[in-house]
């Protein structure tokens, strides 16, 4: 099915009342959790996974994608008004956005972030619609050996290339792979890594790990470093952008979008790098009379560009997720496990076997984008008020939901003990700068990689060289090695 047929099919499903309702609910929830510090889209979707028992797949995924897009919009509000970015993608937005807010220009900063997000989200979604089928064509040619190598490349890029240190990133990844191994081996029926505890035979629940990492660990870390001072929430003021603001914003929006999307599509994922690059680009390209605003009173270009890059990259992440079944962010990994709980395997076959679902999902992304820009600009006062929820009750509430997300599913105290134990590990991971996303990605992608590896070895009759003699696989493994050692070799060369 080509993109136009797909989209017309998708819109015919997406514009039904119930699906519009799911999109609206998702956008609303997503913006709220994006605004709230301490809760992100990955945690929210993990906590909402139980609805997969009751709601049909299309509705659930429209909801999840609404949350995913909404959280990107909400994140900028926190960065600008509170100067505490909730997630890595909006760190850069806080640089100029918070300075604009301090100088009474919070309104235009929020407006340029929202409209920039809309522009980028739309360009990104167009990218998904037209690039998706192309990637699927390519992906259908991959055998298990190539798939395994592709996953290895993905592992290396999400853990070793991004973040502070390859050693710590890979440690996080290995921890996730280890968690993914717990339970009964699907191919041989043998229990693995269970320490003889019967509750572990079913494996460690993904929701439990996500909640432990993103809710319990974060709360413990904040308590560890807690000191009583409330951050100042800046007033919003008028959100109208002047003629000059528009003139200074539209180019950064477009540049940010075209910079961000390819970064999202690449298996490295991540929103830090494109937002940072966009920031530096805008700083270089800004008109000379506005250069002095960077870092002093806050330059609108420094909000418009990175926010667009952030949203376009987020949209791009959906391309490998939907076409290859490769999650490159924690949120995408949780969405992948939602697909699995419906018995659907994301990957190239998804576009053929579930074409109505996929295209409805993509059409809903356009709908969500329009809803978000309409919802966000007039309601910005409401979102600013959410920021004033006092910390003690906010974190106490988050932990109540953490209990629901784990104990609620299994009614097992063992799960609660496991939740809090992994939460403590996560607290120390945060303190010692180990990234958490590779844990979730490793845990979900690990078993799939093992399966692909064993399939490939069955086909090659146990010949391990199949991974390097098949050209496609060899190229992918080569890229993985390059990504792992390249930066180090380059560093050594430069030092001479």
């Amino acid at each position: 099915m080509n993109a136009f047929d797909g989209l017309s099919l998708g819109f015919s499903h997406a514009l039904t009342l119930s699906n519009l309702g799911w999109a609206l609910l998702g956008c609303f929830l997503g913006t709220a959790v994006g605004v709230l510090p301490g809760i992100g889209p990955a945690l929210t979707i993990a906590l909402l996974l139980p609805i997969t028992f009751q709601v049909e797949a299309t509705g659930a995924f429209i909801l999840f994608c609404g949350i995913f897009y909404g959280a990107m919009y909400g994140g900028s509000t926190t960065s600008i008004l509170l100067n505490t970015p909730g997630e890595s993608g909006s760190i850069i937005t806080a640089l100029e956005g918070a300075k604009m807010a301090r100088n009474g220009r919070a309104g235009p900063a929020l407006a340029t972030a929202a409209i920039g997000s809309f522009v980028a989200g739309t360009i990104g979604t167009l990218g998904i619609s037209f690039l998706g089928p192309v990637v699927v064509e390519f992906a259908l040619k991959l055998g298990p050996a190539e798939y395994f190598s592709l996953m290895v490349l993905c592992f290396v890029t999400v853990s070793a290339v991004l973040g502070g240190s390859a050693l710590r990133g890979l440690t996080s990844l290995a921890f996730g792979l280890l968690l993914g191994l717990v339970g009964i081996d699907l191919q041989s029926g043998q229990p693995r890594m269970t320490f003889g505890i019967p509750e572990l035979l079913d494996g460690v629940n993904v929701v439990l790990v996500a909640v432990a990492l993103f809710a319990v660990g974060e709360t413990l870390f904040l308590a560890w470093r807690h000191h009583d001072n409330q951050a100042v929430v800046r007033p919003v003021g008028s959100i109208m952008m002047s003629r000059d603001d528009w003139k200074r914003s539209w180019k950064p929006w477009l540049r940010g979008s075209f910079l961000g999307f390819p970064f999202g599509v690449m298996p490295a994922g991540g929103t830090e790098m494109p937002t940072m690059l966009s920031y530096y680009a805008e700083r270089k390209l800004v008109a000379p009379e506005h250069v002095h605003e960077f870092g002093t009173t806050g330059a609108i270009e420094g909000v418009a560009g990175p926010e667009a890059a952030n949203n376009a990259a987020a949209a791009g992440i959906l391309v490998p997720m939907l076409t290859l079944g490769l999650p490159t962010s924690a949120t995408a990994a949780i969405m992948l496990s939602a697909f699995q709980s419906y018995g659907i395997n994301p990957g190239p076959m998804l576009f053929e076997q579930q074409s109505a679902l996929v295209w409805t999902l993509i059409a809903s992304l356009y709908v969500a984008n329009i809803m978000l820009v309409v919802l966000n600009l007039p309601l910005v006062g409401l979102w600013a008020r959410i920021l004033k929820i006092p910390q003690p009750q906010l974190y106490a509430g988050i932990l109540v939901f953490a209990t629901i997300g784990t104990y609620g599913i299994s009614n097992s105290v063992v799960d609660l003990v496991l939740l809090y134990s992994i939460g403590f590990v996560a607290m120390f991971m945060r303190r010692f700068d180990f990234p958490t996303a590779p844990v979730v990605i490793g845990m979900i992608l690990g078993p799939m990689a093992e399966q692909a590896m064993r399939q490939a070895l069955t086909i090659s009759q146990g010949d391990w060289t199949a991974f390097v003699t098949r050209p496609g696989s060899a190229v992918l493994l080569g890229l993985a090695v390059l990504a792992l050692v390249g930066p180090r070799v380059w560093g050594m060369v430069r030092r001479g």
């Binding site: 028992f53 043998q190 308590a223 209990t403």
Partner: protein
Amino acid sequence: MPEMHPPGIDRTDLKVGGFVLALGGLALWQAAEIPASPLYGQVGPKAVPYGVAAVLALLGAGLVVQALRGGWSHTLEEVREAPPTNWRALALLVAGLLANIVLIVPLGFCLAASVQFVLVAAAFGSRRLGRDAVLALVLTLTVWFGFVMLLGVNIGAGLLEGGILRLLGQELP
């Protein structure tokens, strides 16, 4: 990457490296415990666990070496500028988590989670415990009934939930 190492060993970082190394060892032991499958010829269930365990142990060793050469914590801005450990907050929070584990089976979700809520709020500096308790009960009961009624998911009923259901003349689903 040119990194400046201050002389000496970072003992806290060393503990982290040791922990990862020990985790790798634990995983190696568990990988060895997996019964070899007679059914499967090419790659059995043990290969990948051995591989992952070995990689984890190697990474642990790498972290130990890094810690012996000065560690990495001193390069983190967040650690250098961190306020001192808040033992009171941490203790109250942990007490909340333990209370939840101990109370959830005998008392049910709402009461256990409410005790946890009050302790966690106190950990983050709330001084109005009575108001927090009321807030917690309203929140937990709303959520509990929402999950039972809308999703059919039972989050551990206890004294309070059962009592309210009986008052409404309903049975637990």
